[in-house]
């Protein structure tokens, strides 16, 4: 009798296991947008990322394989421990299948580990550190939008090739700034340029005039800003104020369109920068961005656009795989070539890097800009394999 019961239970378990392998677990596909809803990254990601994920779900008719698609969001406050707790709750009780966005890479790194254990997918869009592709890389993770190396490499290579050989760095004194500085330095040296000085400033900073004066005294061709957000905005504004941007090229290594929007074109004009996405690039990006604008009254940043693309392609991969089982979905994503309103010629690599074409942009002058958010001239399309970093040997998924 007992044996029969156990056998029945085992059969049932076996059945349950089989049902997970094909079809949709929990009868729902849930996308979790884990982002910064209230802090320093809430403009470049935040609510706009949530809207973007919902737009992707709507595009699929809020259904995949006949099951409903839901989008949930939470504020991780840029803290890895908060992010980890929220993710655990989402995976264990919330039926969440995939988590995206992750401004500040440390939150992505914390959640990637948990997702791997729970067999769920992570798709960082605003989490940009290359550490995500290194030692801690995960087979169930895709760094969808871009990373610090690709951003730095695009701008640095273009400027060195233009003959701007000497560089001075103003670097935010924490991991992110250091890695941006290191990645750019590598590319500058490879292309025959030279770094003549570095100032590392405490984060966050209000006043950059001291560093700018030092950079000016160095007579470097380029003053590279290895920082982000308000630090970049203040540094750019003050460079214009002290008349520095007239004689030397100021190159911010990580700039979102929301930053340029708050600097104003008067201060930002002429700067080179690299981005994964610019809304006014082609018909597809314009059409999608206008829809986004109608909902938020702002044009999407690359991070927000990346959340849309990640969610959309994740759902498409489920459809193609016929299941939401994480390894099967990831395998499908690796087979696909990603082309949508945001990403062009994207191929997902084994280490989790989505290698795709990037845009080298130059900020327009106030006279060139015809309308609000008309901010960039597209100078070049940079081939993915030229700007994305080579796979790191430290990542166990990389075959040597």
């Amino acid at each position: 009798m007992k044996i029969k019961k156990i056998a029945a239970a085992l059969c049932f378990l076996g059945y349950a296991g089989a049902s997970q392998a094909a079809g949709i677990s929990d009868d729902v596909v849930k996308i979790g947008v884990l982002t910064d809803l209230s802090g320093v990254y809430s403009d470049l990601a935040g609510n706009g990322s949530v809207v973007a994920a919902r737009m992707a779900a709507e595009e699929m008719g809020n259904k995949v394989l006949g099951k409903p698609v839901e989008v949930v969001a939470a504020d991780h406050q840029n803290k890895p421990d908060v992010a980890a707790n929220l993710a655990r709750e989402w995976f264990d009780q919330g039926k969440v299948d995939m988590i995206t966005d992750f401004p500040t890479a440390s939150t992505a790194l914390a959640v990637m580990e948990i997702a791997k254990q729970k067999n769920r997918v992570t798709m960082p869009s605003a989490g940009l550190s290359t550490a995500i592709l290194g030692e801690k890389c995960s087979p169930l993770n895709a760094q969808w939008t871009t990373n610090t190396y690709a951003l730095a490499a695009g701008t640095a290579r273009a400027l060195v090739k233009e003959g701007k050989k000497t560089w001075y760095f103003i670097t935010a004194d924490y991991t992110f700034g250091h890695s941006l500085e290191k990645d750019a330095t590598e590319v500058i040296k490879e292309n025959g340029g030279e770094v003549v000085g570095v100032s590392r400033h405490p984060f966050p900073g209000n006043d950059f005039s001291s560093f700018l004066l030092k950079a000016q005294a160095s007579k470097a061709d380029v003053i590279a800003l290895a920082n982000a957000g308000n630090d970049t905005v203040n540094a750019v504004k003050q460079a214009a104020e002290f008349g520095i941007s007239k004689k030397q090229t100021v190159a911010p290594l990580l700039t979102y369109i929301s930053d340029v929007h708050s600097m104003g074109l008067q201060k930002a004009q002429g700067m080179y920068l690299t981005e994964a996405f610019y809304w006014d690039y082609d018909d597809a990006s314009r059409a999608w961005a206008r829809k986004f604008f109608d909902k938020t009254k702002k044009m999407p940043t690359a991070s927000q656009a990346g959340v849309y693309s990640a969610t959309l392609n994740y759902l498409k991969a489920i459809e193609a795989a016929g299941t939401d089982d994480a390894p099967a979905v990831m395998a499908k994503l690796r087979e696909m070539t990603i082309n949508d309103a945001v990403i062009r010629n994207g191929k997902l690599r084994a280490d989790g890097a989505l290698v795709h074409d990037m845009l080298l942009l130059q900020v327009k002058t106030p006279a060139q800009s015809k309308a609000p958010w008309d901010y960039y001239n597209v100078k070049a399309v940079l081939k993915g394999e030229d700007v994305f970093p080579k796979p790191q040997a430290a990542c166990p998924l990389v075959k040597s």
């Binding site: 590392r200 405490p202 966050p204 001291s210 004066l213 905005v233 003050q238 008067q266």
Partner: protein
């Protein structure tokens, strides 16, 4: 590390002095408030931020709301914004702070900190975290080509304006009859009341004045730094250190220390930038060890 020319050293000192001016005005307001109210005003940074936003709203938003003719320029904002911020301060003092005077300092600190968080949250909700930009007034655009550096005209104005405000305030508090009463209120409010002075009103106005100083600093800072909801709280840590070093409640202490620490910070940025925010707190620790009442404070 020390291979720096005399000229660029001069430039760095000047830049340090400009920052010192902001420290001086802000810490002076804090010192005045603490002197009379015994309140550590943690709302100071948010009030500084609010004034900067008001200047921006007056210049860019009002014309959109009320028509092109209604535009508050920088000069009017420099007067109007501190008055509004000071007025809001007075309301806060009358309705909330005055209930806490008989309690420990800590309660005032917590209350003002909470108000600061709410103000920052409110501005973030409406204007986002990236903030907005504000151009210097036309009269002060451009700059002077000094031999050793290019000095933006607006920054030169900031130095002159802040030093004048500091000296005027010092004169008001230390050399006039009104100032004498205020100082008497700090020493012994009950005795002063016995002489027929309306001490509660005096306290309210003093709080309003201290907050208005934060407002002046906020409008002055608007064209220099990005206006965003957190601009004040980023500065406030340093400003508190300035007040502690100068001596809680000492006006001259706040002015001199503010300027001196601006210079010291500027020098640190030249020689070892990584330490530029720490250096202020190192000085604070040393001063607290050697003179617990601060450089200009009186031991009680």
């Amino acid at each position: 590390m020390f291979d720096i020319s005399y000229q660029s050293l001069l430039a760095q000192l000047l830049v340090g002095l400009i920052n010192g001016c902001f420290y001086a005005i802000l810490s002076m307001g804090l010192a005045i408030i603490f002197g009379l109210l015994n309140i550590v005003n943690f709302t100071h940074g948010a009030q500084f931020m609010m004034a900067a936003f008001l200047a921006w709203i007056g210049f860019t938003q009002l014309p959109q709301w009320l028509g092109e003719s209604v535009q508050i320029n920088f000069w009017v904002a420099l007067l109007l914004a501190p008055v509004i911020v000071g007025g809001v301060g007075i309301v806060i003092e009358r309705t909330l702070l005055k209930r806490l005077y008989h309690l420990d300092h800590l309660y005032g600190l917590l209350l003002t900190f909470g108000i600061a968080l709410m103000m920052e949250g409110g501005f973030r909700y409406f204007y986002g975290i990236s903030g907005v930009g504000y151009e210097p007034p036309e009269l002060l655009q451009g700059g002077f080509d000094l031999d050793f550096m290019y000095l933006p005209g607006y920054r030169a104005f900031v130095v002159v304006a802040s030093l004048s405000i500091c000296l005027l305030t010092w004169y008001l508090f230390e050399r006039t009859r009104l100032g004498a009463m205020l100082r008497a209120g700090t020493e012994n409010p009950r005795l002063l009341q016995a002489f027929g002075v309306n001490v509660p009103v005096m306290i309210t106005l003093t709080y309003g004045f201290g907050v208005a100083l934060a407002g002046v600093a906020g409008v002055l800072a608007a064209p220099v730094m990005q206006i965003n909801p957190l601009m004040g709280s980023n500065l406030l840590n340093i400003v508190f250190a300035v007040v502690v070093i100068g001596g809680l409640g000492s006006i001259m202490g706040a002015i001199v220390t503010g300027l001196a620490l601006g210079l010291l910070e500027g020098l640190t940025k030249v020689f070892y930038p990584e330490a530029s925010t720490v250096v202020v707190f190192v000085v604070m620790a040393v001063v607290l060890l050697v003179r617990p009442a601060g450089l200009f404070g009186k031991e009680k």
